[in-house]
Symmetry: C2
Subunit: 253 residues, 2 copies
Amino acid sequence: MVVALKPSLAPRPLLSPDRADRSIRSDCERCSARTISVCGAVDDPDLQRLGALAEVIKLEPGAVLIREGEPAPHVFNITGGSLRVYKLLPDGRRQITGFLFAGDFLGLAIGETYVFSAEAMEVSTVCRFRKGPFRALVAGSPPLEHMLLHRTSHELAAAQNQMLLLGRKTAIERMASFLLDLPGHDPSRPTAPGHVRLPMKRGEIADYLGLTIETVSRVLTRMKVKGLISIPSQNELIVERPERLRQHASGEV
Amino acid sequence: MVVALKPSLAPRPLLSPDRADRSIRSDCERCSARTISVCGAVDDPDLQRLGALAEVIKLEPGAVLIREGEPAPHVFNITGGSLRVYKLLPDGRRQITGFLFAGDFLGLAIGETYVFSAEAMEVSTVCRFRKGPFRALVAGSPPLEHMLLHRTSHELAAAQNQMLLLGRKTAIERMASFLLDLPGHDPSRPTAPGHVRLPMKRGEIADYLGLTIETVSRVLTRMKVKGLISIPSQNELIVERPERLRQHASGEV
DNA sequence: CGCAGTGTTGAGACGCTTCAACTCACGTGG
DNA sequence: CCACGTGAGTTGAAGCGTCTCAACACTGCG
């Protein structure tokens, strides 16, 4: 059973970061700033029980996992790939509220129906839990509950950063912030410093940053011309001047 | 000892909503849609212990409770009044990420320093807890931890709504959303239907909605001319056409 | 009465969006 | 092997919504 978690629990023994097929991810990007994997026998009985509850689902690119407004019987944990989470207005305007990667939870919010939609951006795998048993198990396991609170608090802090971005930053500041933040969320195989993997299309970046496709494209071009970044291919990008980008991200230019 | 909580625990006996001096607020606005107060003897020993940890602080309007970037030794619970929570860019641009009222928690996010600032908008009272003992108590009390997770999840859902607002809504849509949402967050004395208390100034509304003061003023005027609202005084507002306002809020006009 | 803080209104400027044309990469089939 | 089609991305020109700057109105208070 595959379960990917990013608990904030006491440190676990560090083993090889490979063998994702039977690994439990254990990290806390804001606390310990690293993604580690714990493989082999799982010592925590709660995590084992959690794994026993799970049902593994594989998603093709574009597959819809959650549709806003529909009944919400499940909680999900992403074990591989990446998903976009978004909300829609009736006329089709879309705001992507987050990109999720391996280890992230989805659908924790209390309520009868989902309040957002979620789709796979690439081939992805998720663990699905029925809400009732999941809640029951969590309620009976303080460490699990604590981990969820910890992660949700982090997400809330990230959401506040995004509000600052959407409410007050210019297009280039938004893009700079995005390019600097993205690698920290994506636990996929360690990339060279400055190297950013872009599993999402321009339109998704636009809907995440509250811009249009055209503006995203223009800003990237401007950054390229300025020598801040280079774009070897559509799906990857290299930050050439991280310090200058950081200045842009915080509005100091 | 004054403690204001909005736990998602099992229902408690409903008593008089007054006597705020010794009350424990107990509600779940999104689940049960009402704010109730439980007064008199507190039966939950965890809440009593929480109360014993608290230190009551009174804030004058404009008083700074939390400054972004400073060490974060405390967790707060608001027992009266209202606070604004915000983030700043170096050049002074401000994004207010939320308005907090009685029952709300503040400073839960894990980290060495606060990642936002908070100021009182009116005369307010808060309970202050040192983080260590607070965490210890919460860790030892599953119901408390559960309540915090529940509340944080709600805040996260609200934050996602705000991202949709900031990223994709027009000025009038933002204002309409704001006027409809605000009463649901403010548990202060029950107001007549359609009646909205505005404890914040225009500049704060602007910084919450990602607009300027002038745009806020213009939009309110437009709404007034259209007959959607009326403004008896600077600090209060009456929604005359809730259904039309709701259409605007969801972008259907 | 005068002052300061707050809110409103107007005119022009600006940044992003909209609309449209074009390029590029990739896959398919004649 | 190349013509063709499609989806994604880029670039240009014009439009529009909000911002900026400025003047004015209102309120409360010493």
